[in-house]
């Protein structure tokens, strides 16, 4: 099962002087059970694209299938399919609105018709998952939290909907290094333990290198690449044409190779890179 986009095109403000083709004939598959990254420069169409995944935007052309169901239809089956997809937008903390954190998180489950018991259970689980202690924080105002806590509270609101497909738009923007790592580890755990499919929108290529199984690269509303990270990062030219950069680790490895270190140069994560360098140095008899 998967999210499948077939020949999607989308134009903002059609038939006006501001008409802008944001997505141009996009066909991609987000496979179930994987972490798929979508990368592209600002304005490449990433955010427009993900809003199609659960029907927030309707394409001018093309169809979107979630687990085989066309979500553009007007029937209960399509509605249920749209609900399988949860989207965490950029800076989700700006969307917190309720008086207490528990109420804010409960808004979603209640809205989709969960019973009160079920709702409370989901709120507890979601808060527990993002490390916000229920007893301490449930009845506090979300506006008294720190930046990182607010972000986690907002994410808990989506997790409480228990989406099968979780779409994250730049989830770590503005967080400090520790905050970035601990949040990404939480998503990894969610993926491992509950099998949640994750779509990660990011221009942080090191993040993509560490977490993604597949990479989709957008440029000017078109898909320029759909590949494994290893394949993607071996095509420096395409990456740079798309306004992106190689992961820092890969850049370092390329520099080492250019300066005469005989490495295989397949590594794009820190652990693998360290292994490759040590191997190369051993072969050279340097250690």
């Amino acid at each position: 099962m998967s999210i499948e986009l077939k020949n999607i095109s989308y134009t903002y403000m059609p038939k006006t002087p501001f008409e802008h083709l944001a997505l141009d004939d996009i066909s991609i598959t987000i496979p179930e059970g994987k972490i798929t990254a979508i990368a592209g420069h600002t304005g490449s169409g990433k955010s427009t694209l993900i809003q199609h995944f659960n029907g927030l935007l309707k394409p001018n052309k093309g169809t979107i299938l979630v687990d085989g169901v066309d979500i553009g239809k007007k029937n209960t089956e399509a509605k249920a399919a749209r609900r399988k997809v949860g989207i965490v937008f950029q800076y989700p903390e700006y969307q917190l609105f309720e008086e207490t954190i528990a109420k804010d998180i409960a808004f979603g489950p209640r809205n989709i018709g969960c019973s009160e018991d079920e709702t409370q259970e989901r709120v507890k689980q979601a808060m527990d998952f993002v490390n916000l202690d229920y007893d301490k924080y449930a009845h506090r105002s979300p506006f008294q939290l720190s930046g990182g806590q607010k972000r986690r509270a907002a994410i808990a609101g989506i997790l409480a909907l228990q989406p099968k497909y979780l779409v994250l738009d730049e989830p770590t923007a503005g967080l400090d290094p520790k905050g970035r790592e601990s949040l990404m580890e939480k998503f990894r755990r969610l993926h491992k333990e509950k099998g949640t499919t994750i779509v990660l929108i990011s221009h942080n290529m090191d993040n993509i290198a560490s977490y993604a199984d597949n990479v989709i690269i957008l440029n000017k509303g078109k898909v320029t690449m759909e590949a494994t990270p290893e394949e993607a990062f071996s095509q420096k030219e395409l990456i740079s044409q798309a306004g992106l950069e190689l992961p820092e680790v890969k850049t370092i490895m390329n520099e080492l190779a250019q300066n005469g270190l005989e490495i295989q140069n397949n590594a794009y994560t820190m652990d693998k890179a360290v292994e490759e360098i040590i191997e190369a140095l051993r072969r050279k008899g340097k250690c």
Binding site: S146, G174, P177, K178, G243, I252, L281, C287
Partner: protein
């Protein structure tokens, strides 16, 4: 005399109220004219609060902050201080107010009553300095994030600012935008001697500074050159921070018994250490 000097600076938000919060405690800092300093620290460590004292947006609860010898608490100097120190914030969309790029850059100089000819001259020079002259008649909404941030920087330059304080100016930008902003900031510092205070969560950006200040839980806990600061990986991690990727890689190699004696903070250092 230092250009910016904080003496025992403490800041408490909502002092005396129920939601009172100590944000910065007893910070002593000196920033020299023409210097490029970076401030690192986790979310909530007090970096932004500290930076907002540099142009009097916030006033110390105790202690003082001097800019070019003027006390920020002295209302007589508020405007002189703000004219010398320009701020650029994280979200480019929150700091652009006009419908045309040149109007936005001209807003500051117009506001302080400069002569129209001088305003034009300043706007042209400022846009040229950030390499945005060809966009002067554009609407800001049609610019990329990096371009918007450069317009925000031009707005400060048009006031003949001596110092730029940038609070995570690249957090919302894509890689190209980040480079545009970094290159612009670094060039303005080198070529025009603009004193620069750069707050960031990206260690590679901080590595470009002359000096780094580290904030941790409301206190200034370390200061030094990037090489000095990034030498102690353990300390940085303990504070929820990190080191540039090349430094981390060197550290991991050392852990596995590879002999690297040089201090490593960027790719060139690492290549030199390994390939020789």
């Amino acid at each position: 005399m230092s250009f910016i000097e904080c003496v025992d600076l403490t800041h408490i938000y909502n002092a005396g109220m129920e939601n009172e919060m100590l944000a910065v405690e007893n910070v002593n800092i000196k920033i020299e004219e023409g210097e490029f300093v970076a401030i690192l620290g986790t979310n909530g460590s007090g970096k932004s609060t500290l930076a907002k004292h540099f142009n009097g947006l916030l006033l110390p609860s105790s202690g003082k902050c001097l800019v070019d010898g003027m006390d920020t608490k002295d209302e007589e100097h508020t405007y002189d201080i703000r004219r010398q120190i320009g701020m650029v914030f994280q979200n480019p969309d929150n700091q652009i107010i006009a419908a045309i790029v040149e109007d936005d850059v001209g807003f500051g100089p117009e506001n302080i009553g400069l002569d129209p000819h001088e305003i034009r001259r300043n706007v042209t020079a400022a846009l040229r300095a950030v390499d945005m002259e060809e966009y002067r008649h554009f609407s800001p909404h049609h610019l990329s994030g990096g371009q918007k941030q450069r317009v925000a920087i031009a707005g400060a330059l048009a006031m003949n600012t001596k110092c730029l304080v940038l609070d995570e100016p690249t957090a919302m930008l894509d890689p190209r935008g980040r480079h545009e902003v970094m290159d612009t900031v670094s060039r303005l510092n080198k070529e025009r001697g603009i004193t620069t205070v750069y707050i960031t969560h990206f260690m590679e950006e901080a590595a470009m500074a002359d000096r780094i200040f580290v904030m941790d839980q409301k206190h200034l806990v370390a200061s030094g050159t990037p090489r000095e600061i990034f030498r102690d990986i353990g300390a940085m991690k303990k504070r929820g921070l990190a080191v540039p990727m090349a430094a981390e890689m060197a550290y991991r190699l050392q852990q596995k018994g590879i002999r690297i004696t040089e201090s490593i903070i960027n790719t060139e250092d690492l290549v030199r250490a390994i390939c020789q």
